[in-house]
């Protein structure tokens, strides 16, 4: 089945089985391995991508559903070789250990800051409650999002 959609700002046309999972299409067909599969059941958030402005689980999305959408993956966060301030904050705050949860955390946090540029720590925790981390204990991830929010607020587009 031919499917056309926007991917990280570029128009993409693919031809694949309609019932393949989006996480597989991204990783295997398009070489974008930033999006991870942690559980395949929607219970860990490692596969989080943006569809439009909303974070969604790409392990529970089928290729047919890509038609006409505007997809952002973690690879789409950096521009012209420079990491996004959110990514910078994660690095500076020590919010990355093994890194497996990090793409999903970034995409969810990115979507949060677009909706709510100045979230408090409770709001950050609530927004990230669908993204699991086995390494960090979450504190530094919350620190990172809080820091990024401060540095991004006042700018036009996060």
């Amino acid at each position: 089945m031919k499917i056309t959609f926007m991917l990280n700002g570029t128009k993409k046309e693919i031809d694949t089985a309609a019932d393949r999972r989006v996480v597989d299409v991204l990783r295997e067909d398009l070489g974008l391995t930033g999006t991870k599969e942690g559980c395949g059941n929607g219970e860990c958030g490692a596969c989080t991508i943006l569809v439009g402005d909303e974070p969604r689980l790409s392990c529970l999305m089928l290729a047919a559903q890509l038609e006409g959408t505007d997809i952002t993956t973690v690879e789409g966060l950096s521009k012209d070789g420079a990491v996004h301030p959110l990514q910078q904050a994660f690095i500076r705050s020590g919010a990355v250990q093994c890194g497996f949860c990090t793409p999903g955390m970034l995409m969810t946090a990115f979507a949060l800051l677009k909706k709510n540029p100045r979230p408090d720590r409770d709001a950050i925790r609530e927004a990230l409650s669908g993204n699991l981390c086995r390494c960090t204990g979450y504190q530094k991830i919350v620190d990172a999002v809080e820091t990024a929010a401060l540095s991004l607020s006042g700018k036009e587009n996060p």
Binding site: A17, N41, G42, L60, M61, T108, E126, S129, G130
Partner: protein, 280 residues
Amino acid sequence: MRTVYLPADLNEFWEYRTRCPQALLYAGGTDLLVKMRAGKIAADNLICIERISELQQVTEEADSIRLGAGTSLARLLNHPLLAEHFPVLIKALRTLGSPLIRQMGTIGGNIANASPAGDTLPALYVLSAELELRTASSRRTIPIGEFIKCPGVTNLRPEEIITAVILKKQPDYNISHFEKVGLRKALACSIVSLAAVLELSPEGTIGKVRLAWGSVGPTIVTSPACVDLLTNKKITLELLKAAAGQIRRELSPIDDVRSGADYRREVAGNLLLRLADYIP
């Protein structure tokens, strides 16, 4: 390799349904796709209803609110009409899954999946929700209590889909309570849950009360005996303890990976004691 139909509107949906009556429906896929992956359900073809806006309307009538079955749980959680009229459902939605699951999952899906642990269900039971079921040419409504038979099984006829949930406004209920016990605060399947709506006078007399428990039976459990115990009485801890004893006598929950039957029975009663928070 399956066909995945993606109808843009209800007309297209019925066309695909007629063409492929065996195709299974999904909106967010947070239950169906998980079950398919586990090999519990086989589907040759799928119809994804996520783009049908006619199924995603939330509208207010004079005495009721109508929720399109395809409305995402996230939209409902943030909807002002629900906050105003049905806070018990909002409280239930807050505990369901995660923000990502709520983004994709729908209220129709939570009902059709008919899990005894479905988090919207106890709230919908105490709200006496009615479901609108449609085929291409017919329409009927059914109270939610008559719709779900046992885990995963409903009274949906083969050609039917759930199109809406209809909630009657019930301003007499001034107390709305929901509590879910799970192994985590998010992404946790409920071990026991309780939804309660009460008409409570300023002096603490319970007028009307409706109670519904989740995850302690094959479907949502209600208890006419508990309701009788509480109706037209002054709310006290002793009264709630009596009701707690009553529900414990009535229940036979199961042991499963999440919890033992004894714990479920004990906690189902304990959840009633939380209503003591509302003693004036």
